[in-house]
Amino acid sequence: MEQVTFFAVAILAVVSALALVLRRNPIHGALFLVVNLGCVAVLYLLLGAEFLALAQVIIYAGAVMVLFVFAIMVLIPGKEETGPDPLRSQRLLAVPLGALLLLETILVLRSQVVSGGLARLPGFQPWARSPAALPAVRPGGIESVGRLLLGEYLFAFEVTSVLLLAALVGVLTLAKRKAG
Protein backbone atom coordinates (compact mmCIF):
# COMPACT_ATOMS: atom_id res chain seq x y z
CA MET A 1 0.00 0.00 0.00
CA GLU A 2 2.78 2.38 0.92
CA GLN A 3 4.62 1.55 -2.28
CA VAL A 4 1.52 2.16 -4.40
CA THR A 5 0.98 5.53 -2.72
CA PHE A 6 4.63 6.44 -3.19
CA PHE A 7 4.69 5.66 -6.90
CA ALA A 8 1.35 7.34 -7.63
CA VAL A 9 2.42 10.51 -5.80
CA ALA A 10 5.93 10.43 -7.29
CA ILE A 11 4.59 10.21 -10.85
CA LEU A 12 2.15 13.04 -10.14
CA ALA A 13 5.00 15.12 -8.70
CA VAL A 14 7.23 14.61 -11.75
CA VAL A 15 4.39 15.32 -14.19
CA SER A 16 3.38 18.51 -12.39
CA ALA A 17 7.03 19.66 -12.25
CA LEU A 18 7.38 19.07 -15.99
CA ALA A 19 4.13 20.93 -16.60
CA LEU A 20 5.43 23.88 -14.57
CA VAL A 21 8.49 24.10 -16.81
CA LEU A 22 6.72 23.44 -20.11
CA ARG A 23 3.45 25.39 -19.83
CA ARG A 24 3.62 28.87 -21.35
CA ASN A 25 1.09 30.51 -19.05
CA PRO A 26 2.70 31.37 -15.66
CA ILE A 27 -0.67 31.02 -13.89
CA HIS A 28 -0.92 27.41 -15.06
CA GLY A 29 2.68 26.91 -13.91
CA ALA A 30 1.81 28.28 -10.45
CA LEU A 31 -1.17 25.92 -10.15
CA PHE A 32 0.98 22.95 -11.18
CA LEU A 33 3.54 24.00 -8.58
CA VAL A 34 0.76 23.86 -5.95
CA VAL A 35 0.04 20.26 -7.06
CA ASN A 36 3.75 19.47 -6.79
CA LEU A 37 4.01 20.96 -3.29
CA GLY A 38 0.99 18.92 -2.23
CA CYS A 39 2.65 15.77 -3.56
CA VAL A 40 5.79 16.52 -1.55
CA ALA A 41 3.59 17.02 1.53
CA VAL A 42 2.14 13.52 1.02
CA LEU A 43 5.69 12.16 0.73
CA TYR A 44 6.56 13.85 4.04
CA LEU A 45 3.59 12.02 5.57
CA LEU A 46 4.90 8.73 4.16
CA LEU A 47 8.27 9.48 5.74
CA GLY A 48 6.59 10.08 9.11
CA ALA A 49 7.19 13.84 9.20
CA GLU A 50 3.66 15.01 10.01
CA PHE A 51 4.70 18.45 11.20
CA LEU A 52 6.54 19.16 7.95
CA ALA A 53 3.60 17.96 5.87
CA LEU A 54 1.32 20.44 7.64
CA ALA A 55 3.91 23.23 7.44
CA GLN A 56 4.36 22.48 3.74
CA VAL A 57 0.64 22.86 3.07
CA ILE A 58 0.23 25.98 5.23
CA ILE A 59 3.45 27.84 4.38
CA TYR A 60 4.21 26.73 0.83
CA ALA A 61 0.94 25.75 -0.79
CA GLY A 62 -0.89 28.39 1.23
CA ALA A 63 1.14 31.53 1.86
CA VAL A 64 3.96 31.37 -0.69
CA MET A 65 1.83 30.30 -3.64
CA VAL A 66 -0.83 32.92 -2.88
CA LEU A 67 1.98 35.47 -3.05
CA PHE A 68 3.10 34.03 -6.40
CA VAL A 69 -0.38 34.01 -7.91
CA PHE A 70 -0.94 37.52 -6.62
CA ALA A 71 2.28 38.77 -8.26
CA ILE A 72 1.44 37.02 -11.54
CA MET A 73 -2.03 38.55 -11.58
CA VAL A 74 -0.64 42.02 -10.84
CA LEU A 75 2.08 41.84 -13.49
CA ILE A 76 0.29 39.94 -16.27
CA PRO A 77 -3.25 41.23 -16.71
CA GLY A 78 -5.57 38.44 -17.79
CA LYS A 79 -8.77 38.50 -19.81
CA GLU A 80 -12.03 39.29 -18.14
CA GLU A 81 -14.74 36.70 -17.68
CA THR A 82 -16.94 37.56 -20.66
CA GLY A 83 -18.23 35.86 -23.78
CA PRO A 84 -19.23 32.20 -24.15
CA ASP A 85 -17.94 29.83 -21.52
CA PRO A 86 -15.16 27.64 -22.99
CA LEU A 87 -15.35 25.15 -20.11
CA ARG A 88 -19.14 24.74 -20.05
CA SER A 89 -19.12 20.94 -19.94
CA GLN A 90 -16.65 20.90 -17.04
CA ARG A 91 -18.66 23.47 -15.15
CA LEU A 92 -21.83 21.39 -15.44
CA LEU A 93 -19.98 18.60 -13.62
CA ALA A 94 -19.29 20.87 -10.64
CA VAL A 95 -22.69 20.53 -8.96
CA PRO A 96 -22.83 16.68 -9.01
CA LEU A 97 -19.22 16.53 -7.82
CA GLY A 98 -19.99 18.92 -4.97
CA ALA A 99 -23.01 16.81 -3.97
CA LEU A 100 -20.85 13.68 -4.11
CA LEU A 101 -18.27 15.27 -1.82
CA LEU A 102 -20.99 16.24 0.67
CA LEU A 103 -22.35 12.67 0.63
CA GLU A 104 -18.87 11.27 1.16
CA THR A 105 -18.18 13.60 4.08
CA ILE A 106 -21.46 12.62 5.75
CA LEU A 107 -20.72 8.91 5.24
CA VAL A 108 -17.22 9.25 6.72
CA LEU A 109 -18.51 11.22 9.71
CA ARG A 110 -21.24 8.62 10.37
CA SER A 111 -18.93 5.66 10.01
CA GLN A 112 -17.43 3.70 12.87
CA VAL A 113 -13.95 4.82 11.86
CA VAL A 114 -14.54 8.35 13.09
CA SER A 115 -17.21 8.10 15.78
CA GLY A 116 -16.02 4.83 17.26
CA GLY A 117 -12.33 5.21 16.54
CA LEU A 118 -11.76 8.74 17.80
CA ALA A 119 -13.00 8.00 21.29
CA ARG A 120 -10.45 5.22 21.62
CA LEU A 121 -7.51 7.48 20.68
CA PRO A 122 -5.44 8.47 23.70
CA GLY A 123 -5.47 12.19 22.94
CA PHE A 124 -9.16 12.57 22.15
CA GLN A 125 -10.30 13.33 25.69
CA PRO A 126 -7.49 15.42 27.13
CA TRP A 127 -9.40 16.12 30.35
CA ALA A 128 -9.67 12.43 31.13
CA ARG A 129 -6.11 11.29 30.62
CA SER A 130 -3.38 10.98 33.20
CA PRO A 131 0.31 11.58 32.45
CA ALA A 132 0.91 7.86 32.67
CA ALA A 133 -1.54 7.24 29.82
CA LEU A 134 0.43 9.46 27.41
CA PRO A 135 1.90 7.56 24.46
CA ALA A 136 5.65 7.26 24.31
CA VAL A 137 7.47 9.91 22.25
CA ARG A 138 8.01 8.51 18.78
CA PRO A 139 11.45 9.46 17.41
CA GLY A 140 10.99 11.80 14.49
CA GLY A 141 7.38 12.49 15.46
CA ILE A 142 5.73 15.85 15.94
CA GLU A 143 6.51 15.98 19.66
CA SER A 144 10.25 15.47 19.21
CA VAL A 145 10.27 18.18 16.53
CA GLY A 146 8.63 20.56 18.98
CA ARG A 147 11.11 19.72 21.73
CA LEU A 148 14.06 20.27 19.40
CA LEU A 149 12.66 23.47 17.91
CA LEU A 150 11.97 25.13 21.26
CA GLY A 151 14.87 23.50 23.08
CA GLU A 152 18.12 22.81 21.35
CA TYR A 153 17.43 25.08 18.35
CA LEU A 154 15.72 27.89 20.24
CA PHE A 155 18.32 30.49 19.22
CA ALA A 156 17.97 29.66 15.51
CA PHE A 157 14.20 29.77 15.94
CA GLU A 158 14.36 33.29 17.37
CA VAL A 159 16.84 34.44 14.70
CA THR A 160 14.34 33.23 12.09
CA SER A 161 11.77 35.69 13.41
CA VAL A 162 14.32 38.51 13.02
CA LEU A 163 14.92 37.30 9.44
CA LEU A 164 11.19 37.44 8.69
CA LEU A 165 11.01 40.95 10.15
CA ALA A 166 13.96 42.03 7.98
CA ALA A 167 12.27 40.53 4.90
CA LEU A 168 9.05 42.37 5.78
CA VAL A 169 10.82 45.73 6.05
CA GLY A 170 12.84 45.04 2.90
CA VAL A 171 9.74 44.19 0.87
CA LEU A 172 7.99 47.35 2.05
CA THR A 173 11.00 49.44 1.02
CA LEU A 174 11.29 47.76 -2.37
CA ALA A 175 7.62 47.76 -3.32
CA LYS A 176 6.78 51.25 -2.08
CA ARG A 177 6.09 53.81 -4.78
CA LYS A 178 8.29 56.85 -4.61
CA ALA A 179 6.40 59.77 -3.13
CA GLY A 180 5.96 62.66 -5.57
Partner: protein, 100 residues
Protein backbone atom coordinates in the same frame (compact mmCIF):
# COMPACT_ATOMS: atom_id res chain seq x y z
CA UNK B 1 8.34 0.40 3.43
CA UNK B 2 9.69 2.41 0.51
CA UNK B 3 13.49 2.40 0.33
CA UNK B 4 15.24 5.66 1.04
CA UNK B 5 16.95 5.57 -2.36
CA UNK B 6 13.57 6.04 -4.09
CA UNK B 7 13.02 9.30 -2.24
CA UNK B 8 16.49 10.59 -3.09
CA UNK B 9 16.01 9.50 -6.70
CA UNK B 10 12.72 11.38 -6.93
CA UNK B 11 14.40 14.36 -5.29
CA UNK B 12 17.16 14.26 -7.93
CA UNK B 13 14.57 14.15 -10.75
CA UNK B 14 12.62 17.09 -9.33
CA UNK B 15 15.82 19.09 -8.79
CA UNK B 16 16.94 18.46 -12.38
CA UNK B 17 13.55 19.58 -13.73
CA UNK B 18 13.94 22.75 -11.67
CA UNK B 19 17.41 23.38 -13.12
CA UNK B 20 16.06 22.91 -16.66
CA UNK B 21 13.25 25.35 -15.87
CA UNK B 22 15.73 27.99 -14.70
CA UNK B 23 17.81 27.47 -17.84
CA UNK B 24 15.12 27.43 -20.52
CA UNK B 25 12.48 29.89 -19.30
CA UNK B 26 12.68 33.65 -19.72
CA UNK B 27 9.83 34.77 -17.48
CA UNK B 28 11.41 35.67 -14.09
CA UNK B 29 8.29 34.45 -12.27
CA UNK B 30 8.57 30.96 -13.80
CA UNK B 31 12.31 30.92 -13.07
CA UNK B 32 11.49 31.79 -9.48
CA UNK B 33 8.95 28.97 -9.26
CA UNK B 34 11.55 26.56 -10.64
CA UNK B 35 13.90 27.65 -7.85
CA UNK B 36 11.13 26.81 -5.36
CA UNK B 37 10.88 23.38 -7.01
CA UNK B 38 14.61 22.84 -6.46
CA UNK B 39 14.37 23.92 -2.81
CA UNK B 40 11.55 21.44 -2.32
CA UNK B 41 13.55 18.63 -3.89
CA UNK B 42 16.45 19.38 -1.54
CA UNK B 43 14.05 19.39 1.43
CA UNK B 44 12.66 16.01 0.41
CA UNK B 45 16.16 14.54 0.25
CA UNK B 46 16.94 16.01 3.68
CA UNK B 47 13.88 14.44 5.30
CA UNK B 48 14.61 11.11 3.58
CA UNK B 49 18.17 11.12 4.94
CA UNK B 50 16.91 12.20 8.35
CA UNK B 51 14.66 9.14 8.71
CA UNK B 52 17.75 6.92 8.50
CA UNK B 53 18.99 8.30 11.82
CA UNK B 54 15.59 8.32 13.49
CA UNK B 55 15.88 11.79 15.02
CA UNK B 56 13.98 14.94 14.17
CA UNK B 57 17.00 17.19 13.53
CA UNK B 58 16.58 17.01 9.75
CA UNK B 59 12.93 18.07 10.09
CA UNK B 60 13.94 21.10 12.14
CA UNK B 61 16.50 22.01 9.47
CA UNK B 62 13.86 21.66 6.73
CA UNK B 63 11.54 23.87 8.75
CA UNK B 64 14.20 26.58 8.79
CA UNK B 65 14.75 26.15 5.04
CA UNK B 66 11.01 26.69 4.54
CA UNK B 67 11.09 29.89 6.57
CA UNK B 68 14.08 31.25 4.68
CA UNK B 69 12.39 30.30 1.39
CA UNK B 70 9.26 32.21 2.40
CA UNK B 71 11.34 35.32 3.16
CA UNK B 72 13.23 34.84 -0.11
CA UNK B 73 10.00 34.62 -2.12
CA UNK B 74 8.69 37.84 -0.57
CA UNK B 75 11.87 39.80 -1.31
CA UNK B 76 12.32 38.27 -4.77
CA UNK B 77 8.76 39.06 -5.85
CA UNK B 78 9.16 42.62 -4.58
CA UNK B 79 12.30 42.98 -6.73
CA UNK B 80 10.47 41.57 -9.77
CA UNK B 81 7.58 43.99 -9.24
CA UNK B 82 10.03 46.90 -8.88
CA UNK B 83 11.80 45.90 -12.11
CA UNK B 84 8.45 45.57 -13.89
CA UNK B 85 7.44 49.07 -12.81
CA UNK B 86 10.65 50.41 -14.31
CA UNK B 87 10.72 48.41 -17.56
CA UNK B 88 7.09 47.46 -18.25
CA UNK B 89 8.34 44.11 -19.57
CA UNK B 90 8.98 40.75 -17.96
CA UNK B 91 11.93 38.99 -19.55
CA UNK B 92 15.26 38.18 -17.99
CA UNK B 93 16.99 38.82 -21.32
CA UNK B 94 16.42 42.55 -20.80
CA UNK B 95 18.11 42.51 -17.41
CA UNK B 96 21.71 42.22 -18.52
CA UNK B 97 22.88 45.44 -16.85
CA UNK B 98 23.82 45.81 -13.22
CA UNK B 99 22.51 49.38 -13.21
CA UNK B 100 20.07 51.55 -15.15
Amino acid sequence: MVPEAYYTGLSAILFSIGVVGVLVRRNPLVIFMSIELMLNAANLALVAFGTRFGGADAQVLVFFVMTVAAAEVAVGLAIIVAIFRLRRRLSVDDLSLMRW
